[in-house]
Symmetry: C2
Subunit: 351 residues, 2 copies
């Protein structure tokens, strides 16, 4: 059985142990009402399974519309209103059962309803298990920018139950794998070598546990992203811009698909500026392209993606700051990069 | 000169000392951009005066529409968008120059933009000086309920400058006085006796300093309102319901006007249930009615106001909890009160 991972003030608890802990929290806190936030997918695929673990509890279901394009203020308004109309108060509990959209948005709703109520996250996708389960970031998209509005707000508990992955489409598993792979790049050669030697993705609860641990160790060192936490942004500066740019197009990518491209671009920049190993650069590019395929970008599209960079939340004073790697597990922070080199990295990706 | 009041992690600083401290904060934090949030009133009455104290700084003005009825999510959307479009990032500073609507809403916008940026409050009304300047509550109204959406988020600094009161309408000063008076009721006889002996309101920077100190001492003991902070809600349970109910009617009241009524009602309940002095009850009723006049309520309106109580943020588990007083400075928490007694308190108010 996987040991609990202890994050900032709350545990990430695995499988049955997680549900037991949730029942204990509910028993000890005398909540006035328990709200369960699902979206149409998790209502269909995960709700029955979840309820089996929490039988005899009176739970009020609230539902949001699935998809990153609905991670916005309108969905929050609907959730705030439903919770309010159904008698939610300061002593209510919100349980988020779903992927990153459900947990990020549900966390934001919990952090702002009556100035903050308790919430528990149960991520049901690989991406939300390894990425959104620790770190206490909540948020919604605003305008063209991802997570522009949000808070830092700890959940009471996160439950990781890999059984939810059984109903997850392969494409979604792959999307989560991009973050698993990124965690290996910023941690050590051991995990990296394990992943790179396979032409397929292999996910079990040990892989998930190790990946969350990598992120958690970083978050505990630096919750508010002054230094170390920035390394989690590896591949995300351009990855986010690509994801935002394609969000409303017919080439729309899943988060991890965009991040996989961002990782290749960032690793090329690391090679150019910090002598990151050429051999590993090629290994990474081949591994990710083999898994994720190739996305084509027209020069005009690349220009627009670069324009979007200046809005990235991680940037300030109008400068675009990249995280690069000297080698596996050795990040360099706040590297400013000119447009020419970014264009060159796209050439490398497309080659 | 008034000494700084030290609140949870930040100072409340008076007059010139406040502006000096703001300049120091700006100098030390290397902000990427400084945004100044005003509404149409403070733009007209306070902006020039404020800018004189901060000359040579590049400041980006953003404006919201004044009035409690605009303390809503649409105004936040406009502010988030302006800050985003004008190049705001995580290293930006937001200065709120205005009454409670500007500081509450601006604080909420700051707490949620890019997961939280620095902000400074400069309250320009008596109400916001004595009530909103300490306590770190941010919020907007949602549906029919006041402050239903919000956060706890500390400013970097609060500046109190009574010069802003010179342009404040008398009615607004009176509204703020209700909170000054409430602070006396929950602190001690000394302040209470000073206020009650006058048939007019007298406000100078010592009165403001003492009133903020009363609130601050309570907030420091209990930031998240588990116990002592609830005493600040004296008169607010029914006061808020009255304010919400009349918000869109032709009998609309200012916050303090509604709270003055709520104080009379709560004091009557204190007299009935906790032997609060009959003499002081009459003194309080006469003092407040003399200053604020009388508001009439039809029986049907009282029913609707009582209906609204169950949505009060301070309540949980469907129970309506009142703060009452055994005597001046001796609060009783979480008193459940039946409808009949509430109706009786309205009879007393109207008599």
């Amino acid at each position: 059985m996987n040991e609990d991972i202890i994050s900032t003030n709350y545990p990430v608890s695995f499988k049955d142990k997680g549900y037991d802990f949730l029942k204990e929290i509910i028993k000890n806190n005398n909540y006035s009402k328990i709200f369960l936030h699902v979206d149409e997918n998790t209502k269909k695929c995960c709700l029955d399974y979840f309820l089996k673990h929490l039988n005899n509890l009176k739970i009020i279901e609230i539902e949001s519309i699935s998809g990153e394009e609905n991670k916005n203020i309108n969905s929050c308004l609907k959730l705030w209103q439903e919770i309010s109309e159904k008698g939610g108060d300061r002593s209510s509990l919100l349980i988020n059962l779903g992927g990153g959209v459900v947990t990020d948005m549900g966390g934001f709703v919990a952090s702002t309803f009556k100035r903050g109520i308790d919430y528990v996250n149960i991520p049901t996708t690989l991406l939300s298990m390894v990425d959104a389960s620790v770190g206490s970031k909540t948020g919604i998209d605003f305008g063209v920018l991802k997570n522009q509005i949000g808070t830092f707000y700890d959940p009471k508990l996160v439950i990781i139950d890999p059984n939810y992955l059984d109903t997850l489409p392969e494409k979604e598993k792959l999307s989560g794998y991009a973050e698993v792979f990124k965690h290996s790049l910023i941690s050590n050669n051991h995990i990296f070598n394990q992943l790179i030697k396979s032409n397929n993705i292999f996910i079990d609860s040990k892989v998930i546990h190790d990946s969350i641990s990598v992120k958690n160790n970083i978050v505990i060192k630096d919750k508010f992203e002054k230094k170390e936490r920035k390394s989690l942004n590896y591949g995300h500066t351009l990855g986010h811009a690509i994801e935002s740019f394609l969000l409303n197009s017919n080439k729309k990518l899943l988060h991890g698909e965009a991040i996989a491209i961002g990782i290749i671009l960032a690793t090329f920049l690391s090679y150019k500026l910090y002598d990151f190993s050429k051999k590993n650069l090629e290994l990474i590019k081949n591994h990710l392209k083999n898994l994720f395929g190739n996305t084509n970008f027209e020069p005009k599209e690349i220009e627009k993606i670069i324009d979007l960079l200046k809005h990235d939340k991680k940037n300030s004073h109008g400068k675009v700051n990249f995280i690069l790697l000297k080698e596996i597990g050795k990040p360099v922070y706040d590297v400013e990069i000119g447009k020419d080199l970014i264009l060159e990295s796209f050439d490398f990706y497309l080659s």
